[in-house]
C-alpha cells in the first residue's frame, strides 16, 4: 500500500494517504479511527456523532451547518461500521473543488479547518461534552440500533452474521448494545474521546481533484499536540466452523420470509474464493440468479457475498414460507454443483470479466478510491493495483474454483419467517 498510494506516517500509528485525480470535481478528506470491536463499541459509536455536530469554533449545530452550507454545500459526516473484527469510526469532509468557487474561496482549506476543529477542539462545557447533546446522541444511537428491524433483508443478514460469529469480536454490532449506550456518562464519553484520539490507529485518506498541498502538515500539527500512546492493533481472525449447523427461526408478522445461510471456509486463497462466490451468486449470470430466481421463480433477490477476512460466504433470499425448504435445498444444490465442477469455462470467463469491470469502475468515484485505499490498509493482501488484481483473477483455475466451493461448510441457517403462512402460497 505504501508504494501504491504513497501512504506515509505522520505521527505514532497515524498515517496519511492522498490521491489526486483531476477528473473529480470534489474532494473528500476522511479521518478514520480503527479499533477492535469490543464492549466499548457503543461509546465509540456515539463520539463521532457528537464531534460532527459542533466544535469550539462553532458551538451550535446551526452555526456549524450554516458555515458548511455557505461553502457550497460542504458537509461533515460521521460513519461507524463493523468490518471483520474491527470497528471503523470515521469523520469526513466532502467539498466542491476550489476551481468551481464563484468568489475564489479556498473551500478545501476552510472545510479542513472546520473538520480539524471538530475532531481536536470539540465543544465542551465544564470540560465535558454538554450533557444535553450527549443524551440526544445516546438516544439517536439507541434508535439506530433498534432501526435495524426497519429493513428486513439486512436485519435477517445481521442476525445470521451475529450467530455465525458468536463469541468473536465480529458478533458485536457496529453500535454495540442499547444497555451499553445507556450506561454512557460524561466521564466515559470523555475517556472514550481521548482514547480514540490518543490510542487508536488513525488513517487519513484524501481523494479528489486537489493536490492536497499543506493538508498533511495541518494534520501533522494537530496530532503533534496529542500524546499518542497507540494500542496494539489486532488483525481480524479467521472464524472456524461450528461442529453442528446452528439453525434459528424467528417468526414475525411480515409478508415475506427471509432465508440466510452462512458457510465458512479455512481456505486462504482470496481470488479463487472471489471467483467462486461470483459464479455462485454474485452476478446476473450466476447460479443463484439464473436458476433460483429466473428458472424457478422462487424469489426476487437471491445472492451471495464473500467476507474473506472472516472466511465466510453468505446466501440470502426473500421467499414465500411455502418455498423455504425448496429454496434452501436449491441454494445448497447449486453450491454442490460448483463443488462437483458442473460449470463451464464460458461461465468462469464471464464472471472474471464482471469482477474486473466492477473493480475498474470503482475507481471512477471518490468513495471507491477511498475504499480501495482503506481495504489495502486493513487487509494487506488487497494492497495491490487493479492491474495486478486483474492478473490474479484471470489466473484462477477451474480446479481452484472447485477447491474453493468444496472448502465451504454450512455454519448457520437463519430464517425470518412470516406468520401469514396460509396466505403465502401463490
Amino acid at each position: 500500500m505504501e508504494n501504491l498510494y504513497n501512504r506515509r506516517r505522520i505521527a505514532d500509528e497515524v498515517y496519511f494517504t492522498s490521491v489526486t485525480d483531476n477528473k473529480f470535481k470534489i474532494n473528500r478528506i476522511s479521518v478514520i479511527f480503527i479499533t477492535d470491536l469490543s464492549d466499548r463499541a457503543s461509546c465509540n459509536a456515539v463520539i463521532p456523532r457528537l464531534l460532527s455536530k459542533c466544535s469550539e469554533d462553532f458551538d451550535t449545530m446551526a452555526k456549524l451547518n450554516k458555515k458548511l452550507a455557505g461553502l457550497y454545500s460542504a458537509n461533515i459526516t460521521w460513519s461507524v461500521k463493523a468490518d471483520g473484527d474491527y470497528q471503523i469510526c470515521e469523520l469526513s469532509a466532502a467539498v466542491l473543488g476550489n476551481r468551481y468557487a464563484l468568489e475564489g474561496e479556498d473551500i478545501l482549506r476552510e472545510a479542513l479547518k472546520i473538520l480539524i476543529g471538530c475532531i481536536f477542539r470539540p465543544y465542551f462545557e465544564n470540560g465535558r461534552f454538554p450533557s444535553q447533546s450527549l443524551e440526544i446522541e445516546k438516544q439517536n444511537q439507541i434508535d439506530d440500533n433498534d432501526a435495524e428491524i426497519n429493513d428486513k433483508t439486512s436485519y435477517a443478514y445481521y442476525k445470521a452474521y451475529s450467530e455465525a460469529f458468536r463469541g468473536e469480536p465480529a458478533e458485536i454490532r457496529w453500535g454495540g448494545t442499547n444497555e451499553q449506550v445507556e450506561a454512557i456518562n460524561g466521564d466515559s464519553a470523555l475517556e472514550t474521546y481521548r482514547r480514540l484520539i490518543d490510542e487508536t490507529r488513525v488513517e487519513i485518506i484524501c481523494v479528489g481533484e486537489s493536490k492536497f498541498e499543506g493538508v498533511e502538515k495541518m494534520f501533522e500539527d494537530a496530532f503533534s499536540a496529542v500524546g499518542r500512546k497507540p494500542e496494539c492493533f489486532t488483525a481480524t481472525k479467521l472464524s472456524s466452523v461450528k461442529p453442528e449447523v446452528s439453525r434459528i427461526t424467528e417468526t414475525l408478522d411480515i409478508e415475506q420470509s427471509k432465508l440466510v445461510m452462512i458457510f465458512k471456509t479455512g481456505l486462504r486463497k482470496k481470488y479463487p474464493l472471489m471467483v467462486m462466490q461470483h459464479l455462485y451468486g454474485g452476478t446476473e449470470s450466476s447460479k443463484l440468479f439464473s436458476i433460483v430466481r429466473e428458472k424457478m421463480s422462487l424469489c426476487y433477490y437471491c445472492f451471495s457475498r464473500l467476507g474473506y477476512a472472516k472466511g465466510f460466504v453468505s446466501t440470502e433470499c426473500g421467499v414465500d414460507h411455502d418455498n423455504l425448504v425448496k429454496t434452501e435445498a436449491e441454494c445448497l444444490n447449486q453450491l454442490s454443483e460448483i463443488a462437483k465442477g458442473n460449470f463451464t469455462d464460458d461461465e468462469v470467463t464471464k464472471v472474471k470479466l464482471y469482477i474486473i469491470n466492477l473493480m475498474r469502475s470503482g475507481l471512477d468515484t471518490v468513495s471507491g478510491v477511498a475504499s480501495k485505499c482503506l481495504s489495502g490498509i486493513l487487509y494487506p493482501e488487497n494492497a495491490i493495483s487493479i492491474d495486478e488484481m486483474s492478473d490474479r483473477i484471470n489466473a484462477v483455475t477451474r480446479e481452484e474454483i472447485i477447491e474453493a466451493a468444496q472448502s465451504l461448510k454450512l455454519d448457520t441457517v437463519y430464517i425470518l419467517d412470516t406468520n401469514k403462512k396460509e396466505e403465502a402460497a401463490q
Partner: protein, 426 residues
C-alpha cells in the same frame, strides 16, 4: 439528423444533443479521465401511464396496474438468450428501473463499450414475450412486491400519496399488486411496448469513457426509424382537496415514520423543473439543517438526522413534502406548519436564501462527478425538454421574491400526514 453542442461556462465542459433520424434523442457526454462508461436508454413510460391511446386507436385503453414495471422485467428476455447473458459476455453491469413516469435500461462497463451498446439497442428494440415466460415472471414480481409491503419507508411514502390524491395514478404502487399483475397477458405487453417504446418517445444518454463518433455509428446501424404515432395519455381529473388528513399503519420499525405532504396543482416539463429548484431552496432555507426550526426540533429530540424536506416531482405531479422518523409525528407536523406560517409573515432571512442558493449550486456541480449520475441527468433533462446544464442557470436566476412567492402560495391546511407506527414484537 440534428446535432447541437451545449457548453457550460460554469463547468467548462460540453455535451452533444442529437435528434436522430430514427426519432430517438441522443445525449453524449464524454468525460476525460474516467475508465468506465454508462449508457441509459429510457422511455417516457412509467407506472402512471395506465390509460392511453394513439392515432390508431379509436378510444382510450386502460391496462392493469404495474404493467410498465412488468414490461421492464420481461424486456430482458430474448428468443435465444437473455440480455443479461449478452452483457455478461463482456463483464458489463446491467440493470433497469421503472419509475412513476419513465422506464430505463442501462449498463456500465470499462471495456468493450461498442458491444454493450449494441446489446442495449438490440434488446430494447426486440421484445420477445411468450405466455410461458410471462407466467414465470409472476412469482418473481410477487416477491418484489412483498419486500416493499414489509418496508416502512416505502409504505409511509405510498400511504401518503394515497391520502393526498383521489385519482392521480401516482398513488398506485409502481409494481402494482399481486392481484393486478395476474391480469397481464402477452397481447397487453406487446400493445404497451409498441405504444410507448417508440423511438420518438425515448432518449439514449451516454457519459464517461467512450468515443462519441463510434457510438453514433452504432446508433445509425441499429436504430430502426419509428413514425410518430400521436401518443396521448389520459390524466384523470384531480380534486383540489386532499383525500384524507391522516393515515397510519403498523409495521416493524424502531421509531414512528412520518411524511407530511402539501397538495399542489400538477406541473410538467420545464416549469416543473424551475419550480422544483425554487421550492427546494425555499424548503431548505425554512426547515433545513441550519434553520432555527431544525435546531429547535433536533435539540428537543423531536426529529433526528433522518429529517428531510423537499419536493417529489414528475410528469403530472408536484408535491412538497417533509419526512423522517419522529417520536411524535403529529407534533412534528404541527411544528412544521407553524414554522411555515411564521416565515410567511416574518420572511425567510435573505442571508439564508443566499446560502442555500450556494448550497444548491455546489450540490448540482457535485453531481457531474459520476458517469451514472451524468447519464441519468441527461436523460431526465431531455424528458423535461431541457438540457443537463440548465438547472445550473435556473438556480442562478432564482430570486428572493421567487421563494417567498412559493411559500405564500402553499395551502398549508391542504396537507396530509402519513404515519407508520411501530408494531410491537411479542
Amino acid at each position: 439528423m440534428k446535432k447541437e453542442i451545449l457548453f457550460s461556462s460554469r463547468l467548462r465542459e460540453s455535451c452533444t444533443k442529437i435528434i436522430h433520424d430514427s426519432g430517438l434523442n441522443i445525449c453524449l457526454y464524454p468525460m476525460k479521465g474516467f475508465s468506465s462508461a454508462f449508457a441509459i436508454l429510457g422511455t417516457r413510460y412509467g407506472s402512471i401511464d395506465t390509460t392511453f391511446k394513439t392515432n390508431e386507436d379509436a378510444d382510450y385503453m386502460t391496462v392493469p396496474e404495474g404493467i410498465a414495471h412488468y414490461l421492464e422485467h420481461k424486456l430482458f428476455e430474448g428468443e435465444e438468450c437473455s440480455a443479461f447473458e449478452n452483457f455478461a459476455k463482456t463483464g458489463a453491469y446491467s440493470n433497469a428501473f421503472t419509475s412513476f413516469d419513465s422506464t430505463a435500461y442501462h449498463f456500465s462497463c470499462s471495456d468493450k463499450f461498442g458491444e454493450n451498446l449494441r446489446t442495449l439497442l438490440d434488446f430494447v428494440q426486440n421484445p420477445y414475450f411468450t405466455e410461458e415466460n410471462i407466467q414465470k415472471e409472476q412469482g418473481i414480481i410477487s416477491q418484489e412486491i412483498k419486500i416493499y409491503l414489509d418496508d416502512p419507508g416505502w409504505r409511509v411514502f405510498f400511504n401518503g400519496l394515497e391520502a393526498i390524491y383521489h385519482n392521480n395514478p401516482v398513488r398506485i404502487d409502481i409494481a402494482g399488486t399481486t392481484e393486478s399483475i395476474k391480469k397481464i397477458r402477452k397481447e397487453l405487453l406487446y400493445h404497451c411496448y409498441y405504444t410507448f417504446y417508440n423511438l420518438n418517445n425515448m432518449t439514449l444518454a451516454i457519459a464517461g469513457n467512450f468515443d462519441p463518433d463510434k457510438a453514433l455509428k452504432i446508433c445509425d446501424e441499429m436504430l430502426r426509424p419509428s413514425k410518430d404515432i400521436g401518443l396521448k395519455t389520459l390524466v384523470p381529473e384531480e380534486p383540489y382537496e386532499i383525500k384524507e388528513k391522516r393515515v397510519s399503519q403498523k409495521l416493524y420499525c424502531a421509531l414512528p415514520l412520518f411524511q407530511l405532504g402539501f397538495k399542489m396543482p400538477n406541473l410538467s416539463g420545464r416549469e416543473c423543473c424551475r419550480k422544483y429548484i425554487i421550492w427546494n431552496i425555499m424548503l431548505e432555507a425554512a426547515l433545513g439543517s441550519f434553520s432555527p426550526f431544525y435546531s429547535r426540533c433536533y435539540d428537543s429530540g423531536l426529529i433526528n438526522d433522518t429529517f428531510s424536506a423537499g419536493v417529489f416531482k414528475g410528469r403530472g405531479f408536484f408535491l412538497p413534502m417533509v419526512s423522517g422518523d419522529s417520536r411524535d409525528p403529529d407534533k412534528t407536523a404541527e411544528e412544521v406548519i407553524n414554522e411555515l406560517y411564521r416565515l410567511r409573515t416574518n420572511g425567510i432571512p435573505k442571508e439564508d436564501f443566499e446560502i442555500v442558493k450556494k448550497m444548491t449550486y455546489g450540490d448540482l456541480l457535485s453531481g457531474f462527478n459520476n458517469v451514472g449520475t451524468v447519464a441519468k441527468g441527461m436523460m431526465n433533462a431531455d424528458f423535461n425538454e431541457m438540457d443537463i446544464f440548465e438547472n445550473l442557470e435556473m438556480t442562478a436566476e432564482v430570486t428572493y421574491d421567487d421563494i417567498m412567492d412559493a411559500l405564500r402560495s402553499m395551502d398549508l391546511e391542504n396537507s396530509s400526514l402519513s404515519v407508520i407506527e411501530p408494531l410491537e414484537r411479542e
